[in-house]
Symmetry: C2
Subunit: 427 residues, 2 copies
């Protein structure tokens, strides 16, 4: 008989679960050390007890940087088959998490199918579905609807939910007193703000936070505390609204942990490179070491069409400074919903950022892959280079399109190949 | 009558040249301050007196990060017309420097045409042309050939030359005593190493460095001191060979400055993110504040096909830490010579890195562009967003391919657009 509720509850009791064992092995980490981190909250293992197909992953201190992919059905893209194709591609490419942002149409059916087929952890933003599923006007949504939707998602097996509990009356006052260039750009956060203004109520996720925690504990849903005030442009980053909300998220984190509910904190957004390290530090301090989940950050606002690159720069810096979980950004960001191709580009760019950061923060064995590639290069072993490439198909295609003077080398240097020259000279 | 030889010579005499005036205006910098930096050597303005079409740019302390594009004719790509098309595209895209790496065929004719049409500064690696132009076997090249080629390039109007003067007997001993996974990957550096091994001579650029300086002073060629020992993989970075060579480059820098020759120092290569800042610091200390010109650095070895991204991450971090000049990296790196399309992708990725770094290091007015974009976004002014985009064509194409619920917003959020919701709620 199971003698614990959540992974955190087990960890606090000193129980090592199968889930912890799986994660520890993947991370080359002693399972007892992992258990301690889960008990403290510095590592979260989002694994809803109803998500039977899950292949669990940990997010947090000392672990490999993880990646999330967003998808889902909406009014502009109400094609579940195409979104399921994205799911298959994302799983094939080894992403650790998928967030289902569906907000229109047969959201429940889509979510259930997704959870069934996915070994990756599944996240949702229940507030989207409040509007998508109930099909009510904003002002007609009742406070109890917000919590009811979390329970529904929990029953379905969702592993983590984004909850904008920090966008309460206090946060909205701070926001109104500190004007921003871009106002609010968080979709869920802006919906909560608008709903509060329309109804006069406080944020029900904040007001009934203890009820929310009871639901999370029942299914072991990890709370991903959303940042309604995440900056939408460099001009608004690290401002009063953002930090005010972060303080609240830190307070909520302690309340969640007291009820053995696992927590992840969501973060920016857009910010200049020189602010990233301080933002990671602030999150780790104000939120007591809870895992940090960042969207980007995008280090410039001027590159629509290339935000997978602006996001890779920011994500790599954030993760190397201690962020634990990267939400992918695709070239379609700020322009349209991503296609499957956009998604692939976004996944690769984010993978590069995560891996570069894992090397920098000396995650065990992260460098092995790079050293194998260097060995293949100095051996001019092209097949091995392709096998090891992050995208073997693209690497092969590039070389196949080159006209080669010599099959050993590449067209970049031809017979002037440094590797060949030195090999010859060292004979 | 002109009373100075090089820009540095003028600066030391307290003369403000037209070239300095142009650069100071572009940089929003007081021209007297710029003159001081040129006199000290912390800023270089590569502008050969024979390059009549030049639109001068400064490289160094307090200035906007500059970008270089590599191209040129070689045995594998002996198509001057295609390379000249690359030149036109690169100039259109606003690159500040083009390095002509031609090493086979009608190199002289190509170089002359390039210099004539280019407002951007032009760099070369004369040692490539020693082999390309003289068409001799490595062992048959005479020490005097190396210097003669620099004079030839100077006469033609080349603004900066990469010279691997640091790969001398001492450096090659250090290299042999400290085995590396990837040996040497610098093309020019490996050629010098191989030539030294074959002939038994020391590096003529090192041995006759004073003669080299006289040639440079005559035309005001900026010396770009190459790093033969730049790491070719993460495993070899910041090792004895690399730092030994950097010490020599620092010594040569002082000798060059004593003869009023401007200097830029070339740097890695491949290295993990956590080593970049220390490498910039080392260069600035050991080379007395000379401008730093980096290739990448690539922060992981595993992403052939995406090295414009690994290079953008490294370049952004390097430039924000004080590197002054980024050599672009294209997706074709490690695979083949870049096509025009590869070049475009490389330029945009490098531009993003340079701009993100300029924001981070608070280069005057760098943020204006971003703030204008944020303003356009909050106004949902799509035409303005496209005008401001780093690549308006790609941004437009992305949006045109989306099916839109509403022309105001984008398909990412549709009617759930945060910007619209908040605007409504704030009414």
């Amino acid at each position: 008989m199971q003698t614990y509720t959540t992974q955190m509850n087990a960890a606090k009791q000193g129980i090592i679960t199968d889930v912890m064992r799986t994660v520890a092995e993947k991370e080359h980490m002693d399972v007892e050390l992992l258990r301690e981190k889960v008990a403290k909250g510095t590592v979260a293992i989002p694994a809803n007890r109803n998500h039977l197909s899950i292949d669990p992953e940990g997010v947090g201190e000392g672990l490999r940087t993880k990646m999330n992919v967003n998808l889902g059905i909406s009014k502009d893209c109400n094609d579940p088959e195409m979104e399921l194709e994205k799911v298959r591609v994302a799983l094939d490419m080894g992403v650790e998490a998928i967030m289902d942002l569906s907000n229109y149409g047969k959201t429940e059916q889509f979510r259930k199918e997704l959870i069934k087929m996915s070994g990756a952890m599944i996240g949702t933003v229940p507030v989207y579905d409040v509007f998508g599923f109930f099909e009510k006007e904003l002002k007609d949504v009742r406070p109890e609807d917000f919590l009811a939707m979390v329970r529904k998602h929990g029953e379905d097996g969702v592993d983590f939910v984004t909850i904008h509990a920090g966008m309460n009356k206090r946060a909205s006052e701070t926001f109104l007193e500190n004007p921003r260039l871009m106002n609010l750009v968080s979709r869920g956060g802006s919906l909560m703000f608008a709903w509060m203004r329309l109804t006069g109520y406080d944020n029900p996720y904040f007001e009934y936070f203890d009820d929310l925690l009871d639901i999370c504990a029942e299914f072991d849903i990890t709370l991903s505390l959303g940042d309604a005030c995440r900056p939408g442009g460099l001009a608004d980053s690290t401002d009063a609204s953002q930090i005010q909300e972060l303080i609240t998220l830190g307070e909520l984190t302690k309340r969640a942990w007291a009820k053995d509910v696992q927590v992840i904190i969501e973060g920016p957004g857009h910010m200049s490179m020189d602010e990233i390290k301080a933002n990671v530090l602030l999150e780790k301090k104000l939120c007591h070491g809870a895992p940090f989940y960042v969207l980007g950050p995008l280090v410039t606002d001027v590159a629509p069409g290339y935000d997978h690159i602006t996001g890779a720069i920011g994500g790599a810096i954030a993760a190397s400074a201690g962020a634990d979980f990267l939400c992918y950004v695709t070239p379609a960001e700020h322009l349209r919903l991503p296609t499957v191709e956009d998604m692939k580009e976004g996944i690769i760019a984010t993978k590069i950022a995560a891996h570069a950061a894992d090397i920098a923060k000396k995650t065990p064995h992260a460098r092995d892959w790079d050293n194998q590639m260097s060995k293949a290069r100095v051996d001019l072993d092209w097949n091995r280079m392709f096998e090891l490439a992050i995208d073997p198909t693209k690497a092969r295609a590039y070389r196949e399109h080159a006209e080669l003077e010599d099959e050993t080398t590449c067209s970049m240097c031809g017979k002037m190949c440094a590797i060949l020259n030195v090999k010859e000279a060292l004979k």
